[in-house]
């Protein structure tokens, strides 16, 4: 029996009914990882995984109910600290870093006795959106290995899409879950800011970072959200909002649900096939009972400008900790303490990290702070308020996750049009801390040459909700997946 591509509920049943053991499952996925040539993983922890699977099996074989994820294998983006298991952020500055603690999300999954298969590839420090800035080589898209899977959660997306893990942990700062989920044809959840603890997730932009998940369906994501969410004393931005039983509350009936269609998210330059698939998907929501409402978010255009200031500012603060003293790369030829800092950082950081640190340092420095950072945070208020107003009229927003299907590896430079538009689709929601999904809604032919993939490449429908409106986006995504089969399509299957 092939256990790849089963839903988490199906895996739970198979384990509970002893049709398969966690060790058998774990071995099967490790075998698939070994055979894969996507470069989706930086570290595979075979020994540790089999040890955890044994513990899960012992638990399953003892009387009593099993936690939902008990014995189910998973992959984690190599940005989540894992005690005793190397965590690199795909950066050479952390090449040999062994965290002395688990991130809160990993701890929660361990408490459920889920089995960590390995740590997935990403853009270095999550600075990128193609997987190509990784210090460990780019990840390939399983639908077409000449193309990139998106990023920064490139390895997590490729691993789930290729059936190397039934679900994966990922993180978002400004699109890093939605965009790769869209480009690899899987379901991705970017939580409300503060819904899931950031503790132990290597920091990028702390006012934006949102750890989330990727899986095959919204139902799976709803289950994962129940486990991952909640107040964490170690991350005071997690807030007190209670965690609903998202999976039990799922409803495919969208009668009375208002779905907003923001006109700024259907822009010139989008691939025609992508636009068509998304419009078709929105028609499906109507069939499920939803009422469609045209809305406008005119400040959308300022999103990437605000991000260009806020994100590097927070990066320059967060990356100050890599000093070559307590952990990470240290230079071999320093004369004095200052040179330990300046040379270790010069050698360890990649080009993009340096650019962001220097930009952040500039806009935060005395005399420029008001003109740049403060101004950006004010415009950010405008963006937040605009979303708030729209969510008084509609329950969720529906739009494309990306303006295009996956582009070719190494050739993204020839496709400049999509960059700015792509930012427009993901970044405003991130700046406002909103929850969002990307779910598969069909296939389209790429505009940059052909693909061997018969049906074309996956297209993603984005559903955005108000802060802590996870249940709303899950219901809309769930309703769509009850009516369609796109989320059951897998590469080469």
């Amino acid at each position: 029996m092939d256990y790849s591509y089963l839903s988490l509920t199906e895996l739970r049943q198979a384990l509970d009914e002893k049709r398969v053991s966690s060790i058998e499952l774990t071995k099967a996925f490790l075998e698939r990882i070994k055979k894969s040539d996507l470069n989706a993983f930086i570290t595979v922890c075979e020994e540790e995984a089999l040890r955890q699977a044994k513990i899960a099996d012992d638990f399953i074989n003892s009387p009593g109910e099993n936690p939902f994820l008990c014995g189910i294998p998973f992959a984690a983006k190599d940005l989540f600290c894992t005690r005793g298991i190397r965590t690199t952020a795909a950066s050479k500055i952390l090449d040999n870093y062994i965290p002395p603690y688990d991130s809160t999300v990993i701890k929660k999954l361990k408490e459920q006795k889920a089995v960590l298969l390995g740590k997935t590839n990403l853009d270095q420090f999550a600075h990128g959106s193609s997987g190509e800035t990784s210090g460990y080589g780019p990840t390939k898209n399983p639908w077409d290995k000449t193309r990139m899977p998106g990023g920064s959660s490139s390895g997590s997306a490729a691993a789930v899409a290729e059936g190397l893990a039934p679900f994966a942990l990922a993180t978002e700062t400004g699109g890093s879950i939605r965009q790769p989920a869209s480009l690899t044809g899987i379901s991705g959840w970017k939580p409300t800011y503060g819904r899931v603890s950031r503790y132990g997730v290597i920091a990028m932009g702390s006012s934006l970072d949102s750890p989330g998940a990727m899986a095959y369906s919204v139902e799976d994501l709803a289950h994962l959200a129940e486990v991952m969410s909640g107040m964490d004393p170690k991350d005071s931005t997690t807030g007190q909002a209670e965690v609903p039983q998202y999976s039990k509350n799922l409803s495919a009936d969208l009668k009375g649900v208002k779905v907003g269609i923001p006109k700024e998210y259907f822009v010139e330059g989008m691939e025609e096939g992508v636009k068509q698939r998304v419009l078709e998907a929105i028609e499906e929501l109507k069939k499920a009972g939803a009422q469609l409402v045209d809305v406008s978010l005119p400040n959308t255009k300022y999103g990437s400008l605000v991000y260009a200031i806020v994100c590097p500012s927070e990066i320059s603060s967060n990356l100050a900790r890599y000093d070559g003293i307590r952990y990470g790369h240290v230079t071999k030829d320093a004369k004095d303490l200052m040179e330990v800092y300046t040379k270790s950082r010069a050698e360890g950081f990649g080009d993009e990290a340096k650019r962001r640190i220097l930009t952040g340092t500039y806009v935060l420095s005395a005399g420029y702070y008001d003109a740049y950072y403060k101004k950006a945070q004010k415009v950010r208020s405008l963006i937040i308020n605009e979303f708030k107003e729209v969510f008084q009229k509609v329950d969720v927003l529906a739009c494309p996750s990306t303006p295009n299907v996956a582009t070719k590896l190494g050739e993204a430079a020839n496709n400049p049009l999509h960059g700015y538009i792509a930012d427009q689709l993901n970044i405003p929601g991130s700046l406002a801390g909103l929850p969002a999904l990307s779910i598969p809604c069909g296939f389209a032919r790429p505009s940059d040459g052909d693909t061997p993939s018969m049906d074309g490449l996956p297209v993603g429908l984005q559903i955005i909700g108000p802060q802590f409106g996870e249940q709303k986006i899950f219901n809309v995504g769930y309703a769509y997946q009850q009516l369609t089969e796109w989320h059951k399509k897998h590469p080469g299957v």
């Binding site: 240290v330 330990v340 220097l358 208020s381 430079a413 960059g419 930012d423």
Partner: protein
């Protein structure tokens, strides 16, 4: 250089090379970039200084447009979901991972981090 569907964390380099965002272009001086690199504690090569002079200038030029937005009376964002002053109980917890922490240190002596002479 990479461009394309950079949905997240978008590469500043994209902007740096994207000529269509030129407004009141003012180039950062060599000295300014060197000063920045000192503040950020990153040694830059001659080539990098020149490169970042151009690239940072273009990024700053790109964000100029924000200055046109009317934000009179608009407060700046501090915490996006509106939380303020979250406190916790002042409780001591025992950590059991001292050795694991120190294992990552490039250099230790007598249970302390070893650094170059400061004075």
């Amino acid at each position: 250089m990479q461009k394309g569907s950079r949905a997240e964390p978008f590469l500043l380099l994209d902007i740096a090379y994207n000529g269509k965002f030129l407004y009141n272009f003012v180039m950062l001086t060599r000295e300014e970039v060197i000063k920045l690199s000192q503040l950020a504690r990153i040694e830059l090569s001659e080539n990098e200084v020149e490169k970042f002079q151009k690239e940072l200038s273009t990024v700053l030029d790109y964000v100029e447009e924000l200055k046109k937005v009317d934000t009179d009376g608009i407060p700046e964002v501090f915490e996006v979901t509106g939380l303020q002053n979250v406190q916790r109980e002042d409780k001591v917890e025992i950590a059991d991972n001292h050795e694991d922490i120190f294992k990552n240190a490039p250099e230790m002596k007598d249970g302390l981090y070893k650094v170059k002479a400061i004075l």
